[in-house]
Amino acid sequence: MRFKGQALAGAFALTVFGALPALAVTDVKIWHMEQPPHRVQRVQELIDAFNAANPDIKVSQEPQSWGEVYAKVPAAMAAGNAPDILFAIPDFTTVIRKAGQLDSVADFVKELDGQHHFIPATVEPYSYDGGVWAVPLYNMSLNFWYHKKMFADAGIAVPTTWSEWKAAAEKLSKDGVVGVGLPANKQLYTDQTTYAVMVNNGASELFNADGTLRFDNPKTVESYAFYKDLYKFSSPDAANWTWGEAEACFASETCASILQFSVISTYDQQGGGDAADLGVAAVPHADGEKSSSTIAYSNAAIILAKDAAKRDAAKKFIAFLLEPENYGKFLNMEPGLFLPVTTDGAKSATFWSDPLVVKYKPQVEQMIANSHAGMLFGFTGGHVFPAIGPISAQNILAETLQKVVINGEDPAAAVKAGQAQMIEATK
């Protein structure tokens, strides 16, 4: 009888004390859109390291696709099964803010800024309406890629202005090679290449300071007209290209130059890996402009969790990612594509020691430099215009370009119609 009592007491104690650690674990679910296997693997390595160092927190990842996430997240929020951390870009953040009550992370960003020093341009797109709505994690910028050998053989210097760019494209377009690879249909890649041309002609602002549209202006019209001129030296099948096709055209040496987010790993695997032949430069600017700019996306983490313990755990994980040693590994889940948003991250030893980064160091340095002059439509001039959400979602910049380049419409008329369409979309 005595033994039975002791056994019962022991079992009770085991149940209570055994259950305590399990009860104390806080689950943090992350949704991100970095689906290629090597990126998922790298994120998992970091999660494993974090979980091992923080037994009271269990972080897990669920990679999602950009194609569906705009519909999926609001639905998940409405159904109560949204993730705790969501990776996002600025215009997606405006959509999420509309779908649910986001809490500002201004204090947290300030705290992280004190430790790591954010590049201001990466925080700005998330700072509006009296709050900061996401924590910048990595930057991406569109760059001018060119084959050094082709340019050298033709005796052409790297173009810095539009007239040089057009002349180079014209001269290089021969023997099955096209001078430049540019898309021209209604999709995101065309939005990006179009805006990269616009920002280099002083047409970066889509809105006036009061929120009214100013897309229809002479600078925008000039940009569209120039794109149309340049497109003559693009591949005949380029209209429907997305990033992958442009990359393949460049890697196969069919395109002498392209505008591309810099996925070095694909160039290295598909293009033979000749680092000496890969030229990366700033997107050329209009002849009247003094310097180049580009389109850049500051990617960030939104904390959707409402529960205090989950929010704290989410912050702890984000802070862990931004620690220079971890941050370099995080960025190098896709070397070259993901660029640092913090000053100390840009010096991270783990970032610069990655074999691909070592091999393509000058190119990566140039990409980082270009990203500092990056802009994003709807998030410029110290303003954020949430109305950019529907304009971006409907690819109106690209649709206008398609009208000009493919349908042969007059640039001025197409831009005017584009502005009318934007007004309609934002009603």
Binding site: P63, K72, A79, S265, T266
Partner: protein
């Protein structure tokens, strides 16, 4: 009408052109999956590989979750096809052999399911499934797939039931067979072409379904092939070798399924044509 040599030549050329149109892309996809990356993106495509590698298949099977996606797709598509066949048989029997009030109206009403584009009902279905805890389950996909495949399958069943004389059932009844026995031992064996046609239709529709699978499934471990494969490819880059290897392996189950029940499928498709 007798066909002359010129007629035969035109016919042969037309068939050849059709075969080329159908098979050439499949040939290019299949053979390119064994080429080295550089050859895949070559300026001039090579019809016959100049290089050979298994690296894309190795990468696909070893570093990605492709095998998991593949198994999930097999499970979801096979379950969807099975449930669709059972329900279509039962509904077909009810619609075309039983008399009840409102039968014709109900028969026409089931086709209304196709009146709404999938995207319109996506969010309501998500919210409904979330309420009953079906989000991120294979069952959710099976339910959706069956919902979309069933109306057309029932409609297809009409032709097959119409081809069977009622006298067969009456003879079975005279021999003492009940309704259930008649269905199982008399009707189902005779309906095999129809069953095969429905099974293949439901299987292929489920195998290629993307929209609902991409939204109703959240975890990577439960993704089906179309969604998983699109994720493997990535947004700002395309690993062409991986894509081609994935595409080549993805068509295998459909080819195998067709090999087993294909002749019934063809018979099923032509059944109604001569009635």
């Amino acid at each position: 009408m007798k066909r002359g040599p010129l007629g035969w030549l035109v016919l042969a050329l037309a068939v050849l052109a059709l075969v080329f149109l159908v098979l050439a892309p499949m040939w290019l996809v299949g053979t390119s999956s064994f080429k080295l990356p550089r050859e895949i993106i070559n300026r001039v495509p090579t019809w016959f590989p100049h290089s050979f590698t298994l690296q894309h298949y190795q990468k696909l099977l070893q570093t990605s979750a492709f095998p998991t996606y593949f198994l999930n797709s097999v499970l979801v598509a096979a379950s969807s096809a099975f449930v669709t066949v059972i329900l279509a048989l039962m509904a077909g029997y009810a619609f075309f052999r039983l008399e009840f009030r409102g039968r014709d109206m109900l028969y026409r009403l089931i086709m209304v399911a196709y009146a709404f584009p999938s995207i319109v009902i996506l969010i309501p279905i998500y919210l409904m499934f979330a309420k009953v805890g079906l989000i991120d389950t294979d069952l959710a996909l099976v339910l959706v797939n069956v919902t979309f495949a069933l109306p057309f399958s029932i409609w297809m069943m009409r032709t097959f039931f119409a081809s069977l004389p009622r006298e067969l059932e009456e003879a079975a009844a005279i021999d003492g067979a009940g309704r259930w026995k008649t269905v199982v031992h008399v009707l189902i064996p005779l309906l095999r072409p129809g069953i095969a046609a429905i099974a293949i239709f439901a299987f292929v529709a489920s195998w290629t379904e993307y929209l609902f699978a991409s939204v109703l499934i959240i975890s990577d471990a439960k993704r089906t092939l179309p969604v998983g494969l699109s994720g493997i490819i990535g947004q700002y880059q395309i690993d062409w070798g991986l894509l081609l290897a994935g595409a080549s392996l993805s068509v295998l189950p459909v080819v195998v399924f067709f090999a087993f029940v294909g002749r019934w499928f063809v018979a099923g498709l032509t059944e109604g044509a001569v009635k």
